[in-house]
Structure formats: C-alpha cells, structure tokens
Symmetry: C2
Subunit: 292 residues, 2 copies
C-alpha cells in the first residue's frame, strides 16, 4: 500500500506556481489575483477560505477576502459579484458555499462571469468540460485527476466506481475519468443512493472513489485487492482529544481498507490540499486564458 | 419481447404538439418557428433535415430551410447564425452536422444563442442539463428518455450500460439516466473503445444502450435475459433490394438479440423518429422558456 499524499503533491504544485509567479514578475507580467467572498461564520467555510488565502500568500498570488454577515441581502451579494466580474485587477473569484438559506445559490453561481469562475461551478464551465473546450474544471475533481496523474496511477481501461453523484464532485469526476484523454479512458460507473448491490459493484473497481460525506462508509469487503482508493469525504466528527474538539473523517474506513489497496488517499491530507492547489492552478489559468 | 416503437410514440408526441399549436392559435399566441441550416448535399443530412421540415409542417410549426453550397465560407455561415440569433420571428434553429472540413464545427456551435439552440449542443445547455437548470436537452438523448418514459420502462435502481461516449448521445445520456429524477436514478456505466471485458459488463445491464455506429455490434451473448435494449445506431448499408440502394442498420443484431429482451427498439423506427419529435418539443419549449 502506498499513500496518495495530497500534502506532498499540493506542495509540489504550490512550488511550481510560486516559480511561475516569480517568472511573471521578471517578465513584468500581472500577478494572479484571487478574490473570495465569504458569507457568515460557518466553521468549515471560514477554515477553507482562510486556507485559500494562505495558499495565495505562499505562492505569491494577490488575494482579496470579502466578508459579509449572515444577513447580507441577496442583491448586495449579486452586486458584489457583478463588481468583481468587471474589476480588471481580479483574475478569478469564488463565492464560498454554502450560502444562507435566503440566498439563491444557483442565481449567484450563474451571475459569476464564466471567465472568472475559478471554482468551475458555472454551467458554461461544466459544459466546456464535457466538450473538452478550454475552461475551468471544478477544483475537487481537477485535484483528484492531478493527484492520480502525479502519482503515476494508470487509468486507461480501468474500471472506476464513483460513490456519490454531486454536481461538484461525483458527476464531473465521472466525465473527466471517462473521457478520451490521459488521465481518463476509464470505464466509469457512477453510483448513488438508489444503486442496488453497491458493495458488489464496488468490488469490481480498479479505482474506487468515495464522495458522499458518510464517515467510514466504505469497508474492506467493498474493496478489491490492489485497488486504488480515493477518499473525498470530509466530515467533522467530535473528538475531545483534538485541540479544536473535532477531527476530519473520510468516507473510507481507512484502517481496514488501506491494507487491501495499492494506493489510498488519507483524510485529512489527501484530496483536501489538492482542491486548494487546483483552485490556485485555475487562478493562474484564468490569466492565461485571457492571454495576459 | 415488446417493441419500443418510436414511430408510434413520436406520432403521439406530434399529435400533442399539433394540439398545442391549435390552442396557441386560438389564444392568439405566436406559432413556433424552427429554422435549419443545411450545408452541402450529404445524403444523410438532406434526409434528416427534410424529415425535420416535414415534421414542422405536420405539427403546424413554421419552418425555414436555409441551404448553402459545400463551399460556403465559414464567415458567411457565422453571419447567418448571428442573423438567426437576432431574428425575433425564429424561436429555435439548428445547423445540421457534419459541416465541411474547412468549417470549425465548434465555432459554429458556440456562435448559436443557447436560448435558440434547440439541438442542445451548446456547452451552456449541456452544463444546464448537468445542473438540472431549465434549458435544451440534446434531441437524441431526450428522445430516448421520452421513449422509455412513455413506454413505462422503470429506470430507478436499474443497472444501465451505455456503449459509446459521444458528446451528443452517450455522454449526455449517461447524465440523464443517472440523475436524481424520474426517469433517471439508474446506476450508469459508460463504456467505450478502451473498455475491458465489454461483453461481461453488458451482461449485467438491465438497460443496454448501443450508440457507436457499428452495425450489429451487440450480439445475443452480450445481453441479459429480460433486458431493455435501445439501439441508437443508424448506419447506411448497401442493399440493392431497397429502392434507394441502401438500408439503415442499427448497432444491435436485432434478430438474435430481440428474443432475449423485455423491450427493444428497432432500426429504423425506434430512436430516429424520437430524435425528431424531441427537436419539435424543444422548439415549443424555446417559446415557453421565453415566456411567449
């Protein structure tokens, strides 16, 4: 068993991006600038956004954090999105999800200029991904592809089973892994809550990806010997032994599954750091797509 | 074995659309108007476009056919697309594919206003489909869903195997069949040229869909007893006994497969008529989406 260490791979990417920033400075080119809108004080969201801002600082990107109270009216948020769309100093931006209930997330997602949508959630970017037209690929699926590629995981002709069909992980990932590219060319089965005989289907997977947010859902009996297992779950579970009072737990029962695998990504330290690294790669790409 | 008779189901849809047109006339509302651009004289394309124009006439839609010679320059075609985007009398239009080699198909597809893109090929419409936002679903996948729904084929929890990952059939169909809707909620496996053990995978399918354009590719040994089989293939094969000198042949070896199935769609007369019916449904929808 080999660990798919997202921290190590993400560090490698951050170093490459830092080198690209240095080179841009030498050439007198614009430095990438990422903005993030954070609404409210949800613990997970604050942690994620802070990690994104920190990553920008480490790489040498410029960053702007815009915070609103939980009670911000939708029209104020939409006006800020419009302002960021028009602001030439900002190359890409994200609106951290989830948003409070009184705000229509879809309306906000659709308001973002696809050319600055570095999260890749806009339908135009999802459609471009499907058609293999240049654009932004959502950060988590892109990060998983990058993690596999940089760890020399072969995907062509492999049976891949994805558990969970969310719009931001499972479904786009199924398209990326199935398409006629490298990495890609997997035979993908996308499973979900209505799937029958899930364990049996999973046991046929050369590559098994769990993205449902149910701690320890994938057990050893669901995994083929020698499979590659990617754990996208990040559920906060109470743990009084930890300084913060909680720990992140993945969808895979790591202790019993790991010994059966050829490669496995841990939680934390697997897909999480790769998601942030992808967002940074997308921010640099935002400039390149504009020819800046 | 029951036949999934696309001619019968498409006729039912055309009658419903004709009734809707009549009702619109009574209410003094605009009559849907579909335009089609046809470049060159490819036999298949001419047949398809003529069938679309004929369907419009039968239903009572207005239609406009715009023909260009094979040698039409790309900029002339793009200017016509732009003119149709702006023409308020046209509710939806298609550019019949394939286009001659000197014309960039992707450029043409991207030039069509997504709100008039009744073929559903624009990335914005594919992304909307993925996110379940109202828009146009490509005609062939939409027609297959309609054919199954109107013939009471249960899809929830079924294993579905699709052979072929094209952007206009296999890939979008995998999204439609897998999503959390009815019809939908299948566990979908999308297979292709790099798939290993294809026959074995197909034998697990409750619903098997062939969309690769290889006559007779699916043989009886690939099909589970009682499966639903949908044949999307339409290859012209020489046949001197036919008045035109050719016949349409599907991807399924019908004679040997049919007896094993619960439902099977024939070629011709299965998916083909449904594709045209879907295009007509999309044209009416184009008006409804605009609130006309």
């Amino acid at each position: 068993m080999q660990l798919l260490d997202g921290k190590v791979t993400a560090l490698e990417i951050r170093q490459e991006l830092a080198a690209a920033v240095k080179q841009r400075k030498i050439e007198g080119k614009k430095i990438p600038h990422l903005a993030a809108i954070l609404v409210g004080n949800d613990g997970g969201s604050v942690t994620y956004v802070n990690a994104k801002v920190k990553a920008c600082e480490e790489i040498g990107f410029e960053s702007t954090l815009i915070r609103y109270d939980d009670s911000v009216p939708e029209d104020i948020l939409l006006a800020k999105v419009q302002a960021l769309n028009e602001d030439k100093s900002i190359d890409g931006f994200i609106v951290q999800l989830p948003l409070p209930e009184h705000i229509d997330e879809q309306k906000v997602t659709l308001a973002i200029d696809p050319k600055k949508d570095v999260d890749g959630f806009h339908p135009m970017n999802l459609g471009n991904m499907l058609l293999d037209i240049p654009g932004f690929i959502c950060a988590t699926p892109a990060g998983i592809m990058e993690l596999m590629e940089r760890n020399n995981i072969k995907t062509e002709g492999k049976n891949c089973v994805i558990i969970g069909r969310s719009n931001i992980v499972g479904t786009p990932l199924s398209l990326l892994l199935g398409r006629n590219k490298s990495p890609g060319n997997c035979t993908v089965t996308l499973t979900h809550s209505r799937t029958q005989n899930l364990a049996e289907i999973c046991r046929n997977a050369d590559i098994l990806i769990a993205a449902i947010g149910q701690p320890g859902f994938v057990t050893a009996d669901m995994v083929k010997d020698g499979a590659v297992v990617i754990d996208v779950g990040t559920t906060r579970v109470d743990d009084s032994s930890k300084p913060k009072g909680w720990k992140l737990v993945g969808d895979v029962n790591f202790d019993e599954v790991a010994p059966k695998t050829s490669f496995i990504s841990p939680v934390p330290g697997g897909v999480g750091p790769m998601t942030i690294a992808s967002l940074m790669m997308n921010t640099l790409k935002a400039m390149e797509l504009k020819g800046k």
